[in-house]
């Protein structure tokens, strides 16, 4: 068994349980300067979405629990950036930005892109009728067949078999779509996680299972969820590749996920990509205070020392894509929602989300009778 890095201190050199043979060039080497700057902007967008929603909740304007993706944005941006519009994803509660980041490369304001608009996502967060699910289930429990986003439930890992079935059907139809599923490390202990990945491995289905290992499954540390250090080693039992990515480094996530996606698309089957990261806050905002009791301040500080905004900024500076005053502005890294202001983010990111929120505030609540509708196909 290869040496493993300590929890919360992931590096790009982290062990790969079962690597995919490397090609001479890394997927990131094909990214242009504009691609890299766009990736940086998308990380800001994901962070700003989180920061702003926490502020809105504190102002009493939101109902329900917030599951912050703070400090984990590189996983979403890095994994989604290289997907094709025809690919499917299944985000979970901590992946709310994934809904609008999917296919955002087709244009932030492009209504025809195969991803949700910021308006739709905000309408869902505010529980309004213009939500893709007409606000029938909460938070991340939305999806869209047309946008190729699988609808999640609260039963974690439960969307992995659904994703496997989706791409099974796609393959029957002659398609080459890949499904990327998002999961916390805690949900890998679910029986359905095993059943679904085993099924996908048997049928060589193009399913990439991302494990966002943020060290905490609600109040349970990783050592009580799994007996090995790298959750990617789950792959060993299925004879499929298991990769470990530095979840704080958007380009490392991009590399590993694209390797897995191409492996899947070429017919070689499923794989697991573990992205090591750290949960910035509590499980949900209801848990923030208690999380300060089951986690020590030192642990939290250590886990958050490599903010994905800072890591990405460093890479762009090293590449020469950011320099001078441009490299020194919008310093959102390391700031909690309470400390961050709009000035810490690019103005186009702020205005983009404002448009979504304005739309959500104007959207009406669903009519009460809708509560009794659509149990069956016939409508009631």
């Amino acid at each position: 068994m290869p040496a493993s890095p300590p929890a919360g201190a992931a590096t790009a050199e982290a062990s790969a349980a079962n690597p995919i043979p490397q090609t001479p060039s890394r997927p990131r080497d094909l990214l242009t300067k504009d691609d890299c700057l766009e990736i940086f902007r998308q990380i800001y967008l994901a962070r700003y979405f989180d920061v702003r929603l926490i502020k809105e909740k504190k102002r009493g304007r939101l109902r329900g629990t917030l599951y912050s993706s703070h400090n984990q944005e590189a996983i979403l941006v890095g994994s989604l950036f290289g997907l094709r519009p025809t690919d499917w994803i299944s985000p979970i509660h901590r992946d709310m930005p994934a809904f609008f980041l999917k296919d955002i490369g087709a244009g932030w304001h492009n209504a025809d892109r195969v991803g949700m608009s910021i308006e739709e996502v905000c309408a869902q967060v505010w529980g309004k009728v213009d939500s893709p699910g007409r606000a029938r289930d909460n938070w991340s429990h939305i999806g869209s067949r047309a946008k190729r986003i699988i609808h999640s439930t609260s039963m974690l890992a439960g969307t992995i078999p659904v994703a496997a079935g989706v791409v099974y059907a796609d393959r029957l139809n002659g398609g080459d779509a890949v499904a990327v599923t998002y999961n916390g490390e805690g949900s890998t202990a679910q029986g359905v996680f095993h059943e679904a990945i085993n099924y996908a491995a048997v049928h060589k289905l193009p399913v990439v299972t991302i494990i966002e290992n943020n060290q905490w499954a609600y109040g349970t540390p990783t050592r009580l969820s799994y007996s090995q250090e790298d959750f990617a080693r789950r792959a060993d039992g299925y004879g499929i590749p298991g990769l470990v990515a530095d979840g704080q480094d958007v380009f490392d996530v991009y590399d590993k996920v694209m390797e897995a996606v191409e492996w899947a698309r070429s017919g070689k089957g499923p794989s697991i990509v573990e992205c090591k990261t750290f949960r910035a806050y509590g499980h949900g905002d209801h848990d923030d205070d208690r999380a300060n009791k089951y986690r020590t301040p030192d642990e939290v500080e250590a886990g958050r020392q490599r903010d994905p905004i800072a890591v990405c900024r460093r890479t762009l500076i090293d590449l020469g894509y950011l320099s001078g005053p441009d490299a020194e502005q919008y310093l959102a890294e390391g700031k909690n929602a309470a400390d961050a202001t709009n000035d810490d983010f690019p103005p186009d990111v702020v205005s983009y989300l404002n448009e979504g929120i304005d739309f959500a505030l104007k959207s009406p609540l669903p009519s009460p009778e809708e509560g009794g509708m659509w149990v069956f196909k016939e409508g009631n």
């Binding site: 893709p132 699910g133 007409r134 029938r136 289930d137 429990h141 999806g143 869209s144 067949r145 699988i150 609808h151 439930t153 609260s154 039963m155 439960g158 969307t159 992995i160 078999p161 659904v162 994703a163 496997a164 079935g165 989706v166 791409v167 099974y168 059907a169 796609d170 029957l172 139809n173 029986g191 359905v192 059943e195 679904a196 085993n198 099924y199 048997v202 049928h203 809708e370 509708m373 659509w374 149990v375 069956f376 196909k377 409508g379």
Partner: protein, 356 residues
């Protein structure tokens, strides 16, 4: 089986044969058993719908533990007839995913007892899909498999757990008792577009007494339409599955004592044809409901509840439920028969009700 029983299907497009066949000569051309009827439904729907997929444990090479899918993989290939690992949650979950991407799926449970291993995927993922997407996504998946007791199958090969699914909004729940209905209801379910739990009675699979001729032409039995298996005026016996035959036999016994019993086979639990039950009670004013699931929170209780809340004025006596005792299904015959409904239990209850 006792004397031939009158069959009368209710509802548009549903035409049942006139009489139950009591003892068809083995191998008589034209007579088809319950299992053959199911098999025909699958072959015909696979032929009719190129977007249909079947999967389950051992359904391909083996043709299913009971042979319902025999020959299906040879005809339609491994991609459309999938031998799945022993993974009920993955079978249901992948079926939901295939349906999300445009397929119609038949998912076989080797025994309906095993459906509990896929329970979350059924009640939280599949059943709720239409509701939580405000109708954007419907899931045409039929989960079917053998169920029921009286065969010495013991605790884990005898269950009737239909009540779990009737209590999960969004699922059709079906249980045919004749070959004609088995074929017609399975075809209807595969075209319905809603997720369905389809209970087959394994003791009926090869029962020659109920073999019957099936129409040459394509037909369905519409969901939500009960069948009157025997007409009567003194008491109404409501049931489904293999207990329908017990009710018909009990009715024959009661006739000898001058009591005219009407037997209703509800055929589909969700949706339930209340009107046929109420219409019968308007004649008989007495109700016995029979099923082989446990009594507490079972579907017999649901029928009694609907009658007492919606048609209380029709009743002249308290309704009676005859169900399995609130026990698991034990193995050896005396134990099994002790806990399950029987003709004798129905007759005794009917006499008590009529004399109330």
């Amino acid at each position: 089986m006792a004397a031939p029983a009158k069959l009368e299907a209710v509802g548009v497009g549903a035409k049942a044969p006139d009489e139950l066949v009591t003892t068809p000569p083995p191998g008589l051309p034209g007579k088809k058993n319950y299992l053959t009827a199911l098999k025909e439904a699958l072959f015909e729907e696979m032929e009719r719908n190129p977007d249909m997929v079947c999967q389950g444990e051992d359904i391909g090479r083996l043709g299913g533990a009971f042979g319902v899918t025999e020959g299906l993989q040879a005809k339609y290939g491994e991609n459309r007839v999938i031998d799945a690992p022993i993974s009920e949650a993955a079978i249901i979950g992948t079926s939901v995913g295939m349906a999300l991407n445009g397929k119609t799926v038949m998912a076989e449970m080797q025994f309906m007892d095993f459906i509990s291993c896929g329970f979350d995927q059924i009640v939280n993922m599949m059943a709720t899909y239409s509701y939580r997407t405000a109708g954007e996504v419907n899931i045409p998946v039929v989960v079917r498999g053998p169920a029921g007791g009286y065969g010495g199958g013991a605790l884990y090969h005898s269950q009737m757990n239909e009540a779990w699914f009737c209590n999960s909004p969004g699922l059709r729940v079906i249980c045919p008792s004749t070959p004609y209905d088995a074929k017609g209801l399975l075809k209807a379910a595969l075209r319905d577009g809603n997720p369905t739990i389809f209970f087959e009675i394994k003791e009926l699979y090869r029962k020659t007494e109920i073999a019957e001729e099936l129409p040459e032409e394509d037909y369905i039995v519409p969901l939500g339409k009960a069948a009157i298996r025997r007409e009567g005026t003194d008491i109404t016996l409501v049931s489904y599955g293999q207990n329908v035959a017990h009710c018909v036999q009990a009715a024959a016994e009661l006739e000898k004592q001058g009591i005219s019993a009407e037997v209703i086979d509800i055929r589909t639990l969700v949706p339930l044809d209340e009107e046929t039950i109420f219409a019968s009670l308007a004649k008989t004013n007495r109700l016995i409901v029979v099923n082989e699931a446990p009594m507490t929170c079972g579907f017999a209780g649901e029928i009694v509840s609907r009658v007492t809340t919606k048609a209380f004025h029709l009743l002249d006596a308290p309704p009676i439920r005859i169900t399995r005792l609130d026990t698991p299904v034990p193995w050896v015959k005396p134990l099994e028969l002790f806990v399950l409904p029987s003709v004798e239990k129905i007759v005794q209850a009917a006499l008590k009700t009529v004399r109330y």
